[in-house]
């Protein structure tokens, strides 16, 4: 069965380079785009060094994790507007519980938060399954629910985080510095693991199968409802991981962070990363540079002397462009076959 799904994903026609381009072209392109933007940024500012790289990687980390979470859910055919709220909820919970705790306790709290987030989002998926109400409606509800819960947990910006916990995400005990490596390692490990699981295991591949054709997946013996719950649980855990990164950066929690904006950024990032909003297609590997690029827009526009507020406009145009380009590619592909 695994093989048959692989085949539908890969469609092995034409020359090998063409196959490679089809499979990895987009991923490769987004990484190149990130490198080009970084190189361009380096020419705009007076000095470009470790501090600048750390600033981009560290502060971009929450969006990368959030977008990876969204990507997993969208690949399995869903969409979760609640991820931004989950980020805020986990961030304030971490800040509230971790203040003054030693590293070991902080890590236990972090694991607890990740598990709880997975469980809560699994319940959200279960509600979608049972109620048959579209994902977008239920998760809009969960977005507001999480945001409200976060305000109840931490009415005022407060809390704290263990300094070594902050180091884990930012390479610095104060959250500021010139060391991008911990964040890079953190992203590499988690996203590699989930990327491997998605692409190489039977259960991981079932997400693609259900996302691309629910009926076919059902007929071939997959439990689509269970797959949805699984995808939401993992996506929720990644959103919570993004929240932990946020707490590590700020050194405190802030329930006033607008979760809705974060959700929209995560959707923009996966679109740029080549994940099809219709489900079944996409790679979490491409979501890493896409998330960093979206964070990066604001510094670049500032360096260009453009109001960073227009980053939102650029982001909107970008999404439309990417959708148009993928649409054209898909259309040409169909035309040929």
């Amino acid at each position: 069965m695994t093989a048959s799904i692989q085949e539908t994903l890969v469609s092995d026609s034409q020359a090998p380079w063409r196959r490679w381009a089809r499979r990895h072209g987009w991923t490769f392109g987004v990484w190149i785009l990130l490198l080009v933007l970084i190189a361009y940024y380096a020419t705009l500012i007076p000095r470009f060094g470790a501090f600048q790289v750390a600033s981009i990687v560290n502060n971009g980390t929450p969006l990368v994790f959030l977008a990876v979470g969204q990507a997993i859910i969208v690949i399995a055919g869903g969409i979760d507007l609640g991820v931004g709220g989950m980020l805020v909820l986990s961030s304030v919970t971490a800040a509230r519980l971790m203040e003054g705790q030693p590293l070991l306790v902080a890590l236990l709290i972090a694991v607890g938060i990740l598990l709880a987030a997975a469980a809560i989002n699994a319940v959200v998926a279960w509600i979608i399954n049972v109620s048959k109400v579209p994902d977008i409606v239920i998760t809009l509800g969960s977005l507001y629910f999480f945001q409200g819960l976060a305000l109840a947990i931490l009415p005022n910006p407060a809390g704290g985080a263990n300094e070594w916990f902050r180091w884990l995400f930012t390479g610095s005990k104060t959250g500021i510095g010139s060391n991008p490596w911990p964040a890079i390692v953190m992203i590499t490990i988690t996203v590699t693991a989930i990327g491997w699981w998605l692409g190489k295991t039977k259960r991981g591949l079932s997400l693609y199968a259900v996302g691309s054709d629910k009926t076919a997946a059902y007929l071939s013996g997959l439990n689509a409802a269970r797959v949805k719950i699984l995808s939401y649980a993992i996506g929720g855990a990644f959103a919570a991981l993004a929240g932990l990164a946020n707490t590590a950066i700020a050194g405190r929690g802030n329930a006033n962070t607008v979760g809705g904006n974060l959700t929209l950024n995560s959707v923009a990032a996966i679109v740029l990363g080549g994940v099809a909003l219709t489900g079944g297609i996409g790679s979490v590997i491409a979501v890493i540079p896409a998330g960093l690029i979206l964070f990066f827009l604001s510094p670049i526009l500032t360096a260009m002397g453009v109001d960073p507020n227009s980053a939102q406009v650029v982001q909107g145009v970008l999404i439309v462009l990417v959708m148009a380009v993928t649409g054209i590619i898909e259309w040409r592909r169909r035309l040929r076959s």
Binding site: I38, T43, I45, A50, I176, R252, T257, V258, N309
Partner: protein, 361 residues
């Protein structure tokens, strides 16, 4: 097997790319400057000509007070003549976002950073980093706990207190009041609350029947005011500067005016001057404090001796003379009347702030 190998190769490529990025920037900043020697030259030349670049970090957009604050920064930068550029990091974001924005300003080589802080203590580490890189940070409007930071503000504790005392006096020391605060967690809001509490302690006859945050958003303030006026009995309203849109709700709700305290918003000043039966006071909280912040930043850069703290004392405006003295006809809605803050700023006329043009614009 084949697939697994391909997968491994893909990862090796990605790791190699990451390693390249890290290698390209190098562990040491000095190495990197070499590659961008052209750009470094201009910054090196800057201090010799005594020209500067100012960075601004603001986390609340679409807010008239903050807009005017930025316009005053631009006006001052232009008036001083030795600023080549004002770099704006201006977007709606939270503390984590402001930390990133300040890092961006450091990255872009500004000479001083003016911030309106989103949090009192969470910015300490990034401010210390700026200071370590020789960039002074001036916190405008609200204090931060970072010992390196300069602080320029209206005295917010006193702002809360004088307005509250005026209101409680206007009510004869007795009655139900609504307490419409600013932005939850913002240091200025916390300070005003301290002042409010101090005044409240002296008036045991005053009962606070409503307390909520407007987020300094006029439409949200209007909505809350309508809710208050239509659903409960209040004898007076204190607002954290969301004033004119609250006054408008009396007519909407069809209720009589009660004493109200606001800020020096031009529209509110006009209402106090023109509406029959409206009793109120404007407590000065000029956003043009941004201009004072820019002046302090440039004084530091020019090597002058600058005190760590510059506090403006708020003024209560409630007589017709006082109101007419500050009122500016035909000003953008939501802007404050008091713009030329003597003796701090160099620009001479409110028009410089209204034009909102920085150097080279």
């Amino acid at each position: 097997m084949d697939n697994r190998r391909k997968y491994l190769t893909r990862w090796l490529v990605i790791l190699a790319v990451l390693a390249l990025i890290a290698a390209a920037c190098g562990g040491d900043d000095d190495e990197a400057t070499e590659t961008t020697a052209g750009a470094t030259e201009t910054t090196d030349a800057a201090p010799a000509d005594e020209t500067f670049v100012l960075g601004v970090s603001n986390t609340l957009v679409g807010n008239a007070w903050r807009e005017q604050m930025i316009c005053a920064i631009k006006a001052e930068a232009r008036a001083r003549g030795n600023v080549t550029e004002v770099v704006l990091q201006n977007r709606n974001t939270d503390v984590a976002g402001q930390i990133a924005d300040i890092q961006t300003l450091i990255s872009q080589g500004v000479d001083a950073i003016i911030i309106n802080p989103a949090d009192r203590s969470a910015l300490d580490d990034v401010i210390a980093e700026a200071d370590a890189q020789g960039i002074p940070v001036i916190s405008v409007d609200a204090p931060v706990t970072a010992p390196q930071a300069y602080f320029v503000s209206n005295n917010q504790v006193e702002y809360g207190e004088v307005g509250a005392r005026w209101l409680f006096e206007a009510l004869g020391g007795e009655g139900k009041v609504a307490y419409m605060r600013g932005l939850d967690g913002h240091p200025a809001d916390t300070d005003r609350d301290t002042g409010w509490d101090a005044a409240l302690a002296d008036y045991p006859g005053i009962e606070v029947v409503y307390e909520n945050w407007t987020g300094w958003d006029p439409s949200q303030g209007a909505q809350q005011a309508l809710e208050i006026l239509t659903s409960m009995d209040v004898d007076g309203i204190w607002t954290s500067g969301i004033d004119y849109s609250v006054v408008e709700q009396f007519e909407v709700a069809g209720v009589d005016y009660v004493p109200i305290v606001g800020a020096d918003n031009n529209a509110f000043i006009e209402q106090l001057m023109t509406i029959e039966g409206l009793n109120g006071a404007g407590v000065s909280n000029p956003p043009s404090i941004g201009g004072v912040g820019a002046a302090v930043a440039l004084n530091i850069l020019e090597g002058q001796d600058v005190p760590k703290e510059t506090l403006l004392t708020p003024v209560v405006l409630d007589t017709m003379d006082e109101l007419e003295g500050v009122f500016v006809p035909d000003l953008t809605a939501g802007w404050s009347s008091y713009m030329v803050i003597e003796p701090f700023v160099s620009y001479a006329s409110p028009q410089d702030v209204i034009d909102c043009k920085g150097p080279g614009e």
